[in-house]
Subunit: 125 residues, 2 copies
């Protein structure tokens, strides 16, 4: 799934290319794929997880450090992390007992590029 | 509600200031407020509506032009538009029979600024 969504968010890796919100109406397939990514971010626990991972110096966080910040079970936290991973926003790797997570900056940049409004559109708004 | 969410997305209006995802972990209140905005975007119909409005030359669209693009009733479309408005992403004005919608570019820019990953974080990822 993440591959398909990354495609929608742009293919050339510069984060500011195709498929911007203000460029042209999205077709149904683009909208369905992008909605999955925004839906993944549309939950307070997942947003806090994203910010905890994204703001971590060194770029990766052990799940064992994420869970204690929440009044939720580890399986619940792992489920939220899985949804973020399926949306192409983070990735992970198991090392021994624990799983380590990091954000995929290109995906976030493409999402940011998708939302940013060109100056021309602002002038006419 | 939109005022509160716009506050979360940044107060100085330059779209790249405070509260970036990679700056610091969000607290519960910030996460709850921001999640509402992403949740509003986490639906294919609402994303298509956003892109139809954002990409319209002149900056505003009559609801009467939005509804025919969907296989949905006008009350359903109006409900989706209401959710986008409550999230602070669009605004509207009634003129005679019809309601006209436009995007709030500052809100989109702030959301984009929130998601964008600083170069330093990319280097360590």
């Amino acid at each position: 799934m993440s591959k398909q969504e990354l495609k929608i968010l742009g293919q050339d890796g510069d984060g500011a290319c195709c498929g911007a919100l203000a460029t042209a109406p999205l077709d149904e397939e683009q909208a369905a794929d992008l909605a999955k990514v925004f839906k993944a971010l549309g939950d307070p626990v997942r947003l806090r997880l994203m910010s905890m991972i994204a703001s971590r110096e060194g770029g990766e966080v052990c799940v064992c450090e994420l869970t204690p910040a929440f009044d939720l079970s580890q399986p619940t936290i792992s489920h939220h992390l899985k949804l973020l991973r399926q949306a192409g926003l983070i990735d992970c790797e198991r090392r021994g007992t624990w799983v380590y997570y990091w954000v995929l900056p290109t995906a976030l940049d493409r999402l940011a590029g998708f939302l940013a409004v060109p100056q021309a559109a602002k002038a006419s708004a």
